[in-house]
């Protein structure tokens, strides 16, 4: 075993070109590096892409005009797989935050960034950027591929048709913001199974249950719940009984902001 030597005085070979210093941009870069250096990211991302693309192709290939789906919005029909893809990406969001508590990595992270809040901000920004770009590209590819099968049917459409591009982007924005809510739940609950449970129960199932209650006001309120709002964003044609895309986006943004603000407050206060 060699005797360790660690000279305080830097030698020319390792004189840093930049002075080590903590900055927001660097925390962002660190989170980007972390995201792509674990397998779970690749698994969840590739499953999400495969689910959306696979279901989209299946819908296109098996579609028959006048088969009962004629009144379904073209983009919604093409992106049926989105709901499954959204779950995979929500799991990724939870792993990004709660996963660090499961492994203990959070202690290393918050020792490097003891001001803490930049970590949550960087995680949310990196996640949102990656998921938004990825789902939008997947949506485009899925739509165009499915249309290869649908060109002779009553669901034939093109990207330039009214509302199509907006719905493809809206769907991506909806999935991204749902994922940010999941990421926030992971940061607040600090447990992967706990956050997955809360997301499935509180975000996906609860609005369905509330919507079934025999109170008319519920029907209106539930429209602005995350999953319904995300659904309204992904339709090329106006959906009856749903919020307008603008209102839906605003509602989702508020949900996501709340889902980040609460764990941000907790992160500042709690022991690690």
């Amino acid at each position: 075993m060699t005797t360790p030597t660690l000279t305080r005085t830097a030698t020319p070979a390792d004189t840093p070109t930049v002075t080590p210093r903590l900055t927001h941009a660097r925390v962002l870069r660190s989170e980007w590096h972390k995201l792509w250096t674990v397998r779970s990211t690749w698994i969840t991302v590739l499953s999400a892409v495969a689910l959306v693309l696979g279901v989209g192709i299946l819908m296109g290939a098996t579609y028959t005009s006048d088969g009962g789906d004629s009144d379904v919005d073209t983009v919604i029909l093409t992106l049926y797989g989105s709901q499954l893809g959204a779950i995979a990406l929500a799991v990724l969001g939870i792993l990004v935050t709660a996963g660090e508590y499961a492994t203990g990595m959070i202690r290393a992270t918050l020792t490097a960034v003891p001001s803490r809040l930049p970590v949550l901000g960087a995680k949310a920004a990196v996640y949102a950027g990656v998921v938004l770009a990825l789902t939008f590209l997947t949506n485009l590819t899925t739509f165009l591929t499915a249309q290869l099968f649908l060109s002779d049917s009553d669901q034939a459409a093109s990207l330039t048709d009214d509302g199509v591009l907006g719905a493809l982007a809206g769907n991506a924005a909806g999935i991204t913001l749902l994922g940010v809510i999941a990421l926030g739940l992971g940061a607040g609950l600090r447990s992967v199974p706990g956050a997955i449970g809360a997301f499935v129960g509180g975000v996906m199932i609860l609005p369905e249950v509330l919507g079934m209650l025999p109170y008319e006001v519920m029907e209106t309120v539930v429209r602005y719940f995350p999953t319904q709002a995300a659904g309204a964003l992904g339709s090329a044609t106006p959906m009856p009984g749903a919020a307008s895309p603008g209102t839906a986006l605003l509602a989702l943004l508020l949900w996501a902001a709340t889902a980040l603000a609460v764990p941000a407050l907790l992160l500042k206060r709690r022991d690690v």
Binding site: M1, T3, P4, T5, L6, T7, R8, A13, D14, P16, T17, V18, T19, P20, R21, L22, T23, R26, V27, R29, S30, H33, K34, T37, V38, R39, S40, G99, E100, T103, G104, M105, I106, R107, A108, T109, L110, T111, A112, V113, P114, S115, R116, R269, D271, V272
Partner: protein, 300 residues
């Protein structure tokens, strides 16, 4: 330099750390010693800002750790619990941490080499042995070339070669002028590495002293005397504390070997053995921590 002032940590009714104040100076290895559950890890986490003190505060180089512009260059820490994603490679783990401060990739390679992990750097941490995990933790601690190094039980899980390596490393870090604080529940280990000791028990400060001083103050030295006339010798040493270990063996405190020897010679008593006994650090440590246990019991 680390300064803890009146650090107190309570979880509900349980007080883990109680009014703890001490200073850790650069240039020497300071051992942070206490039995398991004494509050060592909690104290270190408070120094690093991971746990908020209920009362009091800790500073590194004059300000709280979190207030430094480049925290990793101030303090490098190895925490007791593993703080690594098992699915990430050692290289990626260190690179991710390095990115937060803009630490160059060459430094990552350097600490990997220093800790002997270069050949496994691309492997996932999942497959690491306990010792390799400790080495990775130490590599992370040294990443920012920090002025202060805090290591929580670094020899845990290391083989003898690794333990020796840690000792040499700690001493060379201190020799370079760094502040080195290393916790352990093993007195024998600290005796070989530390110059200064901060001893705690039940969250309270028991001693803030040098190794030599601790030995001297904890009961002082005693003298083992073996003589066939043990009973007579006892009556001739009225001021001394005497423990009868065997019919012919006494353990004498309060009188040193020359005095006992002179007394015995003056009265013609044969001595078979006359041995000054320095208490081991273990005994000194046990005495200190035993007291703290009794004190806690009495006050409860």
């Amino acid at each position: 330099m680390i300064r803890a002032e009146n650090l107190t940590k309570r979880y509900g009714d349980t007080t883990v750390v109680q009014d703890l104040s001490f200073t850790v100076h650069p240039g020497v290895v300071t051992g942070f010693l206490g039995p398991n559950g004494a509050g060592k890890s909690t104290t270190l986490r408070m120094i690093l800002g991971l746990d908020a003190p209920t009362r009091g505060h800790a500073t590194v180089d004059g300000r709280p750790y979190a207030r430094h512009g480049a925290p990793l260059t101030r303090v490098g820490a190895l925490l007791e619990a593993r703080s690594v994603h098992p699915g990430r490679s050692a290289h990626h783990h260190l690179t991710a941490l390095a990115h937060t401060h803009g630490i160059p990739p060459a430094r990552v390679e350097k600490v990997l080499a220093l800790t002997g992990l270069t050949h496994v750097a691309r492997k996932r941490v999942k497959g690491f042995s306990l010792g390799m995990g400790q080495r990775l933790g130490i590599a992370a601690a040294l990443l920012g070339d920090p002025a202060t190094v805090v290591l929580d039980e670094p020899v845990n899980g290391l083989d003898p070669e690794g333990v020796l390596w840690i000792r040499t490393l700690l001493k060379s870090l201190a020799a370079e002028g760094r502040t080195v604080l290393v916790s352990s529940h093993l007195m024998s280990e600290m005796a070989l590495t530390a110059d200064h000791l901060v001893v705690i028990g039940k969250g309270r400060l028991l001693a803030d002293t040098t190794v030599d001083e601790l030995v001297r103050t904890s009961g002082g030295t005693s003298v083992k005397v073996v003589t066939p006339d043990a009973d007579r010798l006892r009556t001739l040493l009225p001021g001394a504390g005497i423990t009868v270990e065997a019919p012919d063996t006494l353990l004498v405190t309060g009188a040193d070997a020359p005095e006992i020897g002179r007394t015995a010679a003056a009265h013609g008593l044969p001595l078979h053995e006359l041995t000054p006994q320095a208490p081991s650090l273990e005994q000194a440590f046990m005495a200190l921590t035993h007291d703290s246990v009794e004190y806690q019991g009495a006050s409860a």
